[in-house]
């Protein structure tokens, strides 16, 4: 006896068949881009929009959204209207970016056939969780801020791009330059002879601290110690007291704002006169807000891109951004805007070549040569940007502007030495 006959009555089978037909039709129309007349394709944006990184993630999101809105206002790209699918990779349990959530979001985007590329993530920890998934789907992401070099390093190809082709592109350079260039700056410009190095246990923090430490040692700077902060811990006076006892010329912190805020606050009490600095993790408005002046005064930071948002030719763009979002952009709003421009340009070129899907868009991104806000963007064979500028800033209180105004409280010092 066949099971189907006994378990499902004939009438029910007809109902089931017609229901599934209806569902299929509904499902097909719900996928953007499949109906020829509409011509909609989507770009994903994955960023930690809740938690400790939220404010800086917002600035990045706004940069990308602005570029896409402007393109749509001009009638879209090559006849396509561009949709954005914005996903949050911050969770309450992590209190900041959450790599597991970033992976979940990526799977969601990959499953949606209408998505041709992604912009993000903000953090390297997210990037490490996302890259392999993107590689399986052959879909590109462009990160405007994550700087850990491992993700694009061909040495770790099996881990981060098992399918071989680069999928992780950047409109910023990596910590292979950010950390070492800052070490150069410490040694050559600040004349630091000894340093203590801390990180925040995250992928980005450990990586940038390692690369800083390596170059510092090569430059003859004595590394008096290296330790790791637990970002959920409240008390850093123990380690700071230990550092005070060792009395180095400077402190270098590789990490983001969750531990950075508490470190800045407590370092002001224990080692107020020591030179203190970090990477782009301490280039942050939530650091300014949480630690406050005078604690943050004098901290050095870098960013992995040229500093542009005060330059004259950019003023028009800065005004557009401020008008649209009611706030000032950060430097990573610019790299995010550039990332979106690169994706849009790739869609245009893919369309001109005859077919727009995630594979053709990825190939087009790889061959980009586009004039953007930060200059001409092009990528090497691993997806890294060819321009390798690292900019140095110092927090100097400017009472004319709000205390958490990232543009005016970080004073641009110059480009970090490259050699």
């Amino acid at each position: 006896m066949r099971l189907g006959k006994t378990l499902i009555p004939r009438k029910a089978r007809w109902v089931a068949l017609s229901m599934s037909l209806i569902l299929t039709v509904v499902g097909l129309t719900a996928v953007p881009g499949t109906r020829a007349a509409q011509k909609v394709i989507a770009i994903g944006i994955t960023l930690p929009l809740t938690g400790a990184d939220a404010e800086d993630a917002e600035l990045i999101k706004d940069g990308a959204v602005l570029a896409i809105e402007e393109a749509n206002a001009k009638g879209g790209v090559a006849g396509y209207k561009i949709d954005t699918i914005i996903l949050d990779s911050g969770t309450a349990t992590a209190g900041q970016y959450d790599p597991a959530q970033a992976a979940t979001n990526t799977k969601k985007l990959v499953a949606n056939i209408g998505v041709v590329a992604n912009i993000g993530p903000q953090m390297s920890g997210e990037g490490k969780a996302m890259s392999a998934i993107l590689s399986e789907a052959d879909m590109a992401t462009i990160t405007p801020s994550s700087t850990n070099p491992d993700i694009t390093n061909p040495e770790f190809k099996d881990k981060y791009r098992p399918n071989g082709k680069p999928v992780y592109f950047r409109t910023v350079t990596t910590d292979a330059f950010q950390g070492p260039n800052m070490a150069n700056y410490y040694a050559e410009t600040l004349k630091v002879h000894s340093v203590y190095v801390l990180d925040d246990s995250g992928a980005y923090g450990v990586g940038i601290a390692n690369s800083f430490q390596k170059r510092a040692e090569e430059k003859g700077v004595k590394v008096l110690g290296r330790d790791q902060l637990n970002p959920k811990e409240a008390d850093y006076t123990t380690i700071l007291t230990k550092i005070k006892g060792l009395n180095p010329d400077a402190l270098y912190y590789g990490g983001v704002e969750q531990a950075g805020t508490k470190l800045a606050k407590q370092a002001y009490d224990v080692i107020p006169k020591m030179i203190k600095g970090g990477g782009d993790g301490v280039y942050s408005s939530s650091l300014l807000k949480g630690a406050g002046f005078p604690a943050v005064e004098g901290w050095y930071s870098t960013i992995a891109s040229p500093h542009l948002n005060e330059s004259a030719e950019l003023q028009g763009w800065v005004n557009r951004f401020a008008k649209r979002f009611g706030k000032q952009p950060g430097d990573y709003s610019i790299t995010a805007y550039d990332a979106a421009l690169v994706v849009l340009d790739a869609i245009k070129r893919a369309a001109a070549a005859g077919k727009v899907d995630r594979h053709t868009v990825r190939n087009a991104i790889q061959n980009s040569r586009l004039k953007t806000l930060q200059g001409t963007v092009s990528f090497d064979e691993n997806g890294d940007i060819k321009d390798r500028t690292v900019s140095v800033f110092q927090i100097l209180h400017n009472p004319k502007f709000p205390d958490d105004d990232i543009i005016h409280q970080y004073k641009y010092i110059g480009v970090a030495p490259q050699n």
Partner: protein, 309 residues
Amino acid sequence: MTLHDVVLQQIINGLSLGAMYSLLALGFTMVYGIIELINFAHFNIFMVGSFIAMFALQVLGLHGQSRLLTGWPLVGALSLGFASTMLASGFLGVAIERIALRPMRNVRGTAAMITTIGVSYILFNIILLTMGAGAQNYPNPMPQVSWHLGGAVLRLREVLLWSVSLVLMGVLHTFVQRTKMGKAMRATAQDQEAARMMGIEVDQIVMLTFFIGSALAGAAGLIFGLYYNNTSFLIGYTAGLRAFTAAVLGGIGNIVGAMMGGLIIGLIEALGGQFLQVRWTDVIIFSILIGVLALRPTGLLGLSTPKKS
């Protein structure tokens, strides 16, 4: 700074941490002593307390590092801050007990403990969603007064932290040992049924216990804010876990044990960080805890409380 100075400084740091853990550990140990419940909501009552205190100080016109007070205005502002925070946190604790825990009082098993975890998460997320995830810059009205002991520095806020903790613990100890209410608490801890038969209102005693424990957590929250000049929705987790460890180390249910346990954990944290590395802090603390419990399963002072049937 010589090594001698650094160690002295670490002892100062460790005692400050320890004083905070002790205040928090008292709440765990008192509730456990009375109704044999591990109250995980305590983690975040502490965290909420630090926010309540921040609002209280802001109502008094103190924002960030904007204004320094000295003399009586400082004493007045801080007393008002402590009083309002301890009252509000105390009532928060009572409300949690009344609404969420009393219905489970006689339920066997882990239901009540799981409920406290749930309450803890509710508090955590309420603060996260209303206040945001970023660290808050805490009001700090205390002038930068400090004393030098060789190369080590003793700051006014450390002295304040120690003295407030000492006074609160002293008051609590006297209350429990010398007053009629305290006697009723001890009686309830020893045998609820017998206490009820002697005319003790057990429900009121449990409420009082939650009130005192939570008020102390609130005080610890304010001290935390003043000490680190900073608070966020996350602070309950690490501090709470260490304080809980302190309570177990000292012998859970034992008030003097909790105070001692807190100080020991604080000192281990500071000196362990100095001589090894701070990344090993948790490994050191929990190894010592397991070591102590393996030799004395009831904790350092655990045996002085009568065993309940």
